[in-house]
């Protein structure tokens, strides 16, 4: 194999001839030994041959080609691809790398040469700037990713801040009125903060007997929704209300619950939560709704406690309490002989309270009476219907029952607070008992029913006596009622300004009475009648008449009341007529319901009042009676109907009576001859 050499600028190929493959003597040493060149292996021979290859011509050719292409590319610059230079450089680099890799592989395959190391070639400025640009771009990209991460985190943290602000703000506002407790057990589920409202007011019931009814709804768990709004978990069918009904009463009387204020409408909040941000008004509505729900639960708890106390009181026998029926949520009491009162716990609303909260129903609910065993009223049954008209309003009874128990609890709480803060509680001092409350309530109901009957009797009476006025007087006591029957007498003009002088022993009565009052007072079921102007029984014997007489009717029945009142009123009329007669100087006398005028020859002319409560034309009628000396003193002729000695005048008004009396006086003054 001959080496080749080339001269610059010539296209001819030089040929070198190798030495013949024979061993040539290199030298002979002094001892005559011949020194031959060492034998070279095939690999050494191959390497030597490769070293002899001259690549300079090829490199020069490539350089020339590159110059030509660059010159042509500069001429065509406006049309060149901007990335062409980069591509060419990459191609060249690739070629160089390929050559080097081939060389390395060949050397390593022949195991003759091992690559000791490679030095990185010095970077060109453009390459350094390119690397810097790539590094900066990479950093910028990563920083932008970090920026997005920070933005997302900030949004999430802001939302968390808003959620917590809403939740804790609502909780702090509700804490102004309700007791908040923290649950330290890990029993809370998702969306729960471990808080709860404690609605049980133990201050009023701490020393009462054990309440058998477990108040599971006294603890209301607090949750929050996705928007952070405070939500309340209310057990289903937990709210119940106290209901008072009369046995056989019309159950069509409905009560509307949740009618006060707005109901917690979660649908509004659900719609609001879909928006980007909840307004303060939405949060306020949420707080108000939660407050109203808690208020309803608290009211329900109080009414259940009242029912429990009522049950406890029934265990103590009392005169006014007559239990005729009892179940878990139902208590039946007998009021008097004819009526029965039912006190029961009914569910509040027609559907689940919690369901109403979730669905956002705001219509007022009708109550469902759990005691469906109550008898239904037959409206065609007249006596029963009439009896129902005398019963007081059940709603007013419910209100009153709750009121008296609330006052009792409040008083006990204040007393306890006073004892704790000011002085130690004295041993043996009874803290007060609620045992009389049910008794008082039953007696109140009985009184109200009896009062209605008494009033109806009095009204019937007054409707038949034209000159009688009924005035209702308020006693502000639940078991006391009072009415006043006013009898206004006319004031004739003859008596205006006249002063009658009586004997020295009597005081001057300067004023003629213009009206008389009869007061009817009902305490529980005891009727007492106080009248003025009617003669007393004692006074009728000794001739002394007092202006004010008290007629106590112990055990006065309702049946006797009309007669007693009519007698009282008739007596007042007689009293007035008697005074009028005395004014005109007539010597008249009176005896209970009679007014007598003395005639000559011992005769007596009398004006007699006849009272009949059942008389539909008028309860008080008048008769004129003539008594002569032949008749027994103090006795009128018996028998009904008119006769020579008695004449029926009819149902006269007061003016007519006055005229009649004046006529009788005139008649008497004229001698009374007939």
């Amino acid at each position: 194999m001959m080496g080749s050499s080339s001269t610059e600028g010539s296209r001819s190929m030089g040929i070198d001839l190798d030495k013949l493959p024979i061993k040539r003597l290199e030298s002979i040493d002094e001892f005559g030994n011949e020194q031959f060149p060492p034998d070279r292996s095939n690999e050494e021979q191959r390497l030597a041959q490769i070293r002899r290859i001259d690549f300079s011509s090829v490199v020069e050719k490539d350089a020339k080609k590159a110059k030509k292409t660059s010159s042509s590319a500069s001429k065509e610059a406006p049309q060149a691809w901007p990335w062409q230079g980069l591509v060419d450089n990459l191609h060249l680099a690739h070629q160089e790398l390929s050559v080097i890799i081939d060389l390395i592989n060949t050397v390593e395959a022949n195991d003759a040469v091992a690559v000791a190391g490679m030095q990185r070639p010095k970077q060109l400025p453009s390459e350094a700037l390119a690397d810097l640009a790539v590094s900066a771009a990479t950093k910028l990209h990563r920083l932008r990713n970090l920026g997005r991460y920070f933005r997302q985190s900030s949004k999430a943290l802001e939302q968390q801040v808003l959620r917590e602000a809403r939740f804790y703000g609502s909780l702090i506002r509700l804490q102004q009125n309700w007791k908040v407790k923290r649950q330290r057990l890990a029993t809370s589920g998702p969306g729960s903060e471990g808080f709860s409202f404690d609605l049980l007011d133990s201050s009023a019931l701490s020393d009462l007997a054990a309440i058998s009814r477990p108040l599971s709804m006294a603890t209301v768990r607090i949750d929050h929704d996705s928007a952070g709004n405070l939500a309340i978990q209310v057990p289903k069918k937990s709210c119940r209300s106290l209901s008072v009904q009369f046995l056989g009463a019309d159950t069509s009387c409905k009560r509307s619950f949740f009618s006060k204020g707005e109901v917690y409408n979660s649908s509004v909040l659900a719609q609001a939560a879909k928006r980007e941000a909840l307004t303060d008004e939405d949060v306020n509505k949420c707080v108000k709704g939660a407050h109203s729900v808690l208020r309803e639960i608290h009211r329900s708890i109080f009414e259940e406690q009242v029912f429990d106390v009522l049950n406890l009181e029934t265990y103590n026998p009392s005169q006014g309490i007559n239990v005729t029926g009892m179940r878990e949520d139902f208590l039946q009491l007998a009021i008097g002989q004819e009526n029965s009162l039912c006190i029961c716990l009914v569910p509040s609303g027609g559907e689940d309270v919690s369901q109403m909260i979730l669905t956002g129903h705001t219509h007022s609910e009708e109550s469902e009476f759990s005691s469906s065993e109550l008898a239904v009223t037959d409206e065609k049954h007249d006596p029963f219907k009439k009896k129902l008209l005398d019963v007081p309003s059940p709603i007013s009874l419910e209100t009153y029952l709750l009121y008296i128990f609330h006052e009792y609890f409040l008083t006990r709480a204040k007393e306890r607070h006073y004892h704790v803060n000011h002085r130690p509680q004295l041993s043996g001092q009874p803290p007060g008992s609620s045992y009389a409350l049910l008794d008082h309530f039953c007696m109140t109901v009985a009184h109200r029913m009896f009062s209605n009957k008494v009033l109806s009797e009095i009204e019937r009476l007054v409707s038949r006596v034209p000159y009688l006025h009924l005035i209702s007087q308020f006693t502000w006591h639940s078991r006391t009622s009072s009415w006043s029957l006013c009898l206004k007498v006319p004031e004739p003009s003859l008596h205006a300004g006249r002063i009658r002088k009586l004997s020295d022993n009597q005081e001057v009565n300067c004023k003629i009475r213009s009206q008389f009052h009869t007061k009817v007072i009902l305490k529980d079921d005891q009727i007492s009648v106080t009248g003025e102007g009617s003669p007393s029984i004692v006074g009728s014997f000794n001739g002394n008449y007092s202006d004010l007489c008290l007629i106590n009717c112990f055990g006065c029945d309702l049946e006797d009341l009309p007669m007693i009142l009519l007698q009282q009123i008739a007596g007042q009329v007689i009293h007035w007529l008697h005074e009028e007669a005395l004014v005109v100087g007539m010597n008249a006398s009176r005896d209970f319901l009679c007014l007598y005028f003395d005639l000559d020859q011992g005769d007596t002319l009398g004006l007699v009042a006849h009272v009949d409560p059942d008389d539909v034309y008028g309860c008080i009628s008048w008769w004129v009676v003539l008594e002569n000396w032949s008749m027994e003193e103090g006795k009128l002729s018996t028998g009904n109907g008119e006769s020579e000695n008695r004449k029926f005048l009819g149902y006269l008004s007061l003016e007519a009576l006055y005229s009649t009396v004046m006529d009788l006086i005139s008649l008497c003054s004229a001698g009374g001859n007939h």
């Binding site: 350094a128 690397d131 810097l132 790539v134 590094s135 900066a136 990479t138 950093k139 990563r142 920083l143 970090l146 991460y149 920070f150 985190s153 943290l157 968390q160 801040v161 917590e164 804790y168 909780l171 702090i172 804490q175 102004q176 009125n177 908040v180 923290r182 007054v462 409707s463 038949r464 034209p466 009688l468 006025h469 009924l470 005035i471 209702s472 308020f474 502000w476």
Partner: protein
């Protein structure tokens, strides 16, 4: 954090010491979280520098992400601290709670009194109206004519 100042006057010394210790702990947590945020942010900025010659890019990228995550974690820790403070205020602010309860009691008592007075006024007006109506009815010509008929 004025609870510690006012706590020494009311409760016992042990409770006051515990409150002071808790306040100190909370302040330390706040300082630690804020310092954490500041340090990580400064380190993040340092790592964001472009080196010459550029190397360790992956390592620096991981460092940047780590610093950012620590910052967010510290912010979240601060928020949790705020929640704890709010819970403490809800369940430990007895002085303010008692004051508020007393105030509400006064307001409700006043409302109760006003309501009772209003009810009394209504009852009195009802009584007066009833009396007037009764007087008118029993003095009316219609009643008289009815009775005469």
């Amino acid at each position: 954090m004025s609870k510690a100042g006012g706590a020494g006057s009311g409760p016992t010394a042990a409770a006051a010491a515990a409150a002071a210790q808790k306040q100190k702990t909370l302040l330390q947590r706040v300082d630690a979280d804020v310092a954490n945020i500041v340090d990580n942010f400064s380190l993040l900025i340092n790592v964001a520098r472009v080196n010459d010659p550029p190397f360790r890019n992956s390592q620096e990228a991981f460092q940047m992400e780590m610093r950012a995550a620590r910052m967010v974690q510290a912010a979240d820790s601060l928020l949790k601290l705020v929640s704890e403070l709010k819970q403490t205020a809800i369940f430990s602010g007895f002085a303010s709670l008692n004051e508020n309860v007393d105030r509400r009691i006064e307001v409700f008592n006043q409302q109760a009194e006003n309501t009772e007075k209003l009810l009394e006024r209504i009852a009195e007006q009802a009584a007066a109206s009833l009396k007037e109506l009764e007087t008118h009815y029993y003095s009316s010509v219609a009643r008289t004519h009815q009775l005469d008929a």
